[in-house]
């Protein structure tokens, strides 16, 4: 999908040599701290902004070259994209007209996102949550094969968040490509199958959500045994294995899976009281992965100060 995508705004580098592919049938989460280039990347995909370098295509074509763009991609951008003086109904109708989509479809989507009662009211009076619902209706208008949503749960109440989660899973289950950015890591861990993580415009990780969490956990396994010394000896025979005492008869083992530890214990006829793989939460995983990035920022500041 994206290859070597780079965008500068003046001197400011927003996206830096970013390459990734988003697969159909999955919910792909797009994670990154604020200002890491998520929204810019989405604007580049829609060709609202032109990349400084690199290229991005959808199903082999530039977005601009598709004959029915709304059928290709339905997008909800972070910045509001609705005229405040126009009603929700007329907003959707104006967009529908460009593709020859009828009024019935507009009505269907208004009902689907739950805006029936306010459809004739000016969009400028909408709450953040209602605005998001209208944006999602606009994104689904053209029955798109790719759905791209920037921070869709922003401003939604718990019911709305649940609704979006089910919606995204349902869209992916229908075989559509779902690409969704969020700064809410816990939300992503419930929704996304695959994660693309960026920091300062660069790709940090591109892997399944499971893999992401496992990797960030560092393969930490908690082991409790009454035969501490013997087990320690048995486990340390392998390369890159570290065993740290965490309490009386309690170890943290890195470099081995729980399966490997269990089998090693059995082979040496050692008793285990506990064998627990430790899972980092998505937040922790995210913090671990973006730590270098944050440090890099701090270092940058220091060097600037030194110059001054």
């Amino acid at each position: 999908m994206a290859e070597g995508l780079t965008k500068y705004y003046g001197e400011q580098r927003a996206v830096d040599d970013l390459s990734f592919t988003v697969q159909p049938g999955l919910v792909t989460g797009f994670l990154g701290p604020n200002g890491s280039g998520k929204s810019t990347t989405m604007r580049l995909i829609l060709e609202l902004d032109a990349p400084t370098a690199g290229d991005v295509t959808l199903n082999g074509k530039h977005y601009r070259d598709h004959t029915a763009p709304l059928h290709e991609v339905g997008a909800l951008l972070e910045a509001r994209s609705v005229h405040t003086g126009r009603s929700a109904y007329n907003h959707l109708l104006a967009l529908a007209h460009t593709h020859g989509i009828g009024r019935r479809r507009v009505d269907e989507l208004i009902d689907l996102v739950g805006l029936h009662d306010v459809a004739r009211k000016r969009a400028g009076k909408f709450s953040l949550g209602m605005g998001q619902r209208l944006g999602i209706a606009a994104a689904l208008l053209g029955d798109p094969s790719t759905i791209m949503l920037d921070e869709p749960v922003n401003g939604l109440d718990p019911e709305g968040i649940l609704w979006v989660r089910h919606l995204l899973r349902g869209l992916a289950a229908e075989g559509r490509t779902v690409f969704v950015s969020s700064h809410l890591m816990s939300e992503m861990s419930l929704t996304a199958d695959h994660l693309i993580v960026i920091g300062r415009g660069r790709k940090i990780a591109d892997m399944s959500t499971e893999e992401f969490i496992r990797q960030a956990s560092g393969g930490l396994v908690l082991v409790r045994t009454p035969q501490a010394a013997e087990l320690r000896k048995a486990l340390l025979s392998g390369p890159d294995v570290t065993v740290t005492a965490a309490g009386p008869g309690l170890f943290e083992v890195r470099g081995l899976t729980a399966v490997q530890i269990g089998e090693a214990a059995a082979a040496n006829q050692l008793v285990l009281h506990e064998l627990t793989p430790q899972q980092a939460s998505l937040e922790e995983a995210f913090m671990t992965l973006t730590r270098d990035d944050v440090e890099f920022k701090a270092a940058d500041l220091e060097s600037e100060e030194a110059v001054l």
């Binding site: 004959t67 029915a68 005229h83 003086g85 104006a94 007209h97 460009t98 989509i101 269907e108 289950a173």
Partner: protein, 276 residues
């Protein structure tokens, strides 16, 4: 909660049409008619075009007795009938500007360009739909203004001119054509500047500030330059007479259309190149 707890099926679209210029025009028509700000601008334009000539005619009639022969000679029935055009052009210009800058200020432009990523069809559609609406909207008011002001003046048997008199019908209809072109010019400025206040200021500068400033110039320079200004060239569309210091009807009309085409062309050039 039941609607929430189960995955919702998105109704499929039976057929998906491609984007065509005609469909984009229909979309722009929907946008234009569904904004209250647009409707107010239109209403103001219509009202000013009718009311000012009526007021002007009434004042001229009531003061006719006390006017000097020189003053009387200075009054022309067509100037009275089209007095509103000079003012309502601002309302039409604001409307033309808002058609495009309203989308930039609210972020609607992102939705528009996501639906029509080639972008130029949006500009063509906006221009065409707005031109048609502006002309059809302003034609009745200029006609009403002409006949209403003539009716008022006729009660005092002064300043009568027939609609069938040579050039009269052309000038009255020319007033509506002029307003339409002013709107197109303003739309082009709006698309270039992309900011409501900036675009209106630019338009006002070109149409209302620069022309009087020309009086600072030595008069032979002023006469040489002024007639080529957009406002002066456009004025020939609704002027009955053309003298040495103004362009002919044809030359003025062509030049003004040229100015409009130029702003739209510059807007188109920038539209496909700039980030949104």
């Amino acid at each position: 909660m039941s609607a929430v707890s189960q995955a919702q099926q998105i109704p499929r679209l039976s057929h998906t049409g491609r984007v065509t210029q005609l469909r984009v025009a229909r979309s722009e028509w929907t946008k234009l008619r569904s904004l209250r700000s647009t409707l107010w601008s239109m209403f103001a334009g219509v009202l000013l075009t009718i009311l000012l000539p009526v007021l002007f005619a009434a004042l001229t009639s009531s003061h006719w007795g006390s006017m000097s022969p020189h003053e009387r000679a200075d009054r022309h029935p067509l100037d009275i009938a089209l007095a509103g055009v000079n003012v309502s052009q601002l309302a039409i210009a604001v409307l033309g500007v808002l058609v495009i800058t309203g989308e930039y200020s609210t972020g609607m432009i992102r939705a528009s360009f996501t639906a029509v990523p080639k972008r130029l069809p949006v500009l063509w559609a906006k221009t065409a739909v707005f031109a048609v609406v502006a002309f059809l909207l302003m034609l009745p008011p200029v006609l009403i203004a002409f006949f209403a002001s003539q009716a008022i003046l006729s009660r005092h048997h002064i300043l009568q001119i027939s609609f069938s008199h040579s050039g009269v019908a052309r000038s009255v209809i020319g007033g509506a054509v002029y307003l339409m072109l002013v709107g197109i010019f303003a739309l082009g400025i709006g698309a270039i500047v992309r900011n409501t206040a900036g675009a209106i200021a630019t338009f006002a500068g070109i149409f209302f500030v620069i022309p009087p400033l020309m009086n600072i110039l030595p008069s032979n320079w002023n006469h040489a330059v002024s007639k080529y200004l957009p406002s002066e060239a456009g004025r020939q569309l609704f002027s009955l007479t053309h003298d040495a210091n103004s362009l002919s009807l044809g030359a003025g009309a062509r030049l003004f259309v040229g100015y409009c085409a130029l702003t739209i062309a510059v807007a188109a050039f920038l539209l496909v190149r700039r980030d949104t």
